[in-house]
Amino acid sequence: MIAQADPQELVTPTVDWLAIGPEIALAGAAIFIVLLRSIVRRGPWVYRASLFLAIGGVVAAGVLLGRQWNIVRDDGAIDTIAGMVRIDGFGVFLGAIVVAATLLTVLLASAYVERERLEGPEYLALVLMSATGMVAMTTANDLIVVFVALEVLSIPLYVLAAFDRRRLASQEAGIKYFVLGAFSSAILLYGIALVYGATGTTSITGIADFLAANTLLEQGVLLAGFALVLVGLGFKIAAVPFHMWTPDVYQGAPTPVTAFMSSATKVAGFAALLRVFEVAFPTYREDWRPVIAALAVLSLVVGSVAAVVQTDVKRMLAYSSIAHAGYILVGFAAASVGNRDAAARGQEAALFYLLVYAFMTIGAFAVVTVVARRRHDARHDLDDYRGLAVREPILAGLLAFFLLAQAGVPLTGGFVAKLQVFAAAVEARQYALAIVGVLAAVVAAFFYIRLVVVMFASEPEPAEGEEAVPRAAVEPGTGFVLATCAAITLVIGILPGTFLHFARDATFLL
């Protein structure tokens, strides 16, 4: 769009403030918190006020997204800021997931930061900033916006990962995430540059129009470009072989941050990935679909198999999140076949999976957060969960529920999500993908139920030598998170129709 304007005269594009309202709400809240913090140095109410601000910002973002959803559904997509942002069902749906995940993260962290004596307001501001980037990512219609949003979401995350300065592991997570994240951003940027060179634009719809209208004589630059873009985005969604940071970072980061990363970051990453490839490069489907399929298979296999041998719960969940990325990629691969129906189902499946996964994983990490309070979040050994069902039956029951949901047991959201993905794969005649997927689910079931076994089937450890563990009540915020995640996972499992049609409405093709 910019390219068409007169180079001499810079025209300021019109801005539809409602369209970027959610970002403004989130960023605004973050800025207010930082301001508050810098004006009022001390006092317990600072944190409480920040918390209030943060929740307010997130809720406002959610309300705005709801309005957007209605508008988009009635009037179609909105292009704004010179076409760099495109508000459509897809973006709003994923944005809503991000906002929901953010809300849950904030609530989850509310007690955590106090417990671990972290800098509460800064923490909240960083989460909100990161969320701003994520929401921007979901509606980005320009590769540069994708890049910037990616950085906006990543940079606070680097800090968040390293947020617990007392723990070396947290700092290690931060530095690893940072170095590798920056590396992958650079690759992404170079990829964008190459795409730009090949097509003359960075606008996603612009690229699509260009490629639809012209046939490239020399495809090398473009192909190299979107390969590198794929690397950059694949890094964010933790697809194999760009996944290796995931276990370390997930394990080292403070657990609420891990929850946030595994849910919201993945949503944002997939938002960009799906939009870039489905909208910008549909003409090259045949070239990149095998790549996506290969990434899906690798993620499924490596994620599941590597998780089997883990003894750290967070690390195990990290590998499991890699495997989940594999399932979403299966849906993506299914979405990229020529068949319209199958493509729609593939997108729907991927979107729906992201929705369900966000709640399952936050729920699981929420339990981990609570369990880890004894060891100040420093250790999440399987042994710590031994006999949890006796000590804290509700907590153990919830974790078991989230794990079984992740394993894809019926009457949980996890099952419906997997069913959708496999259905999409089958409809797209990607039978091999479906079979790899179901078999990976079997392998994955092993480590999920192994944790369940440890909680339920084992005797509690001997009390001697251990400090008596008080059955502290779960803080209300955390309780709310647990209840919400469980309820949504369960409701989706029993009555999936209510949520499925949102996902269907959010696909590009309808």
Binding site: Y158, A162, R165, F178
Partner: protein, 105 residues
């Protein structure tokens, strides 16, 4: 001889690619976190160079504008990255990335 060497867009692009590769390889082989970080900066700048070259080639101001975005982002990254690195160095001496591998497996 020199006159014969006319600088074309391709030269810039190749230079950018070489820079990018140097950055990537540097990241792979250097152990000092700061150096690694500088390698990343090198890669970003290679990308910038590519953008500028293409923008010029395409006669499109948009590509040049992108560079500003990138620079801002890189600056932000530097700030955050250095902060983290400093935080780590406060706790332990030495600055090699290999020292931090509590997390593995």
């Amino acid at each position: 001889m020199i006159a014969a060497l006319e600088l074309t867009a391709n030269h810039y692009l190749v230079l950018a690619a070489v820079l990018f590769t140097i950055g990537a390889v540097g990241l792979l082989i250097r152990r000092n976190v700061l150096v690694m970080f500088m390698c990343v900066e090198l890669m970003l700048n290679a990308a910038n160079l590519t953008f500028v070259t293409f923008a010029r080639e395409l006669d499109d101001v948009g590509g040049q504008a992108i560079v500003f975005f990138t620079l801002v982002v890189a600056a932000a990254e530097v700030a955050v990255g250095l902060a983290i690195i400093v935080a780590i160095f406060r706790r332990r001496r030495g600055a090699t990335a290999d020292d931090v591998h509590l997390l593995k497996g």
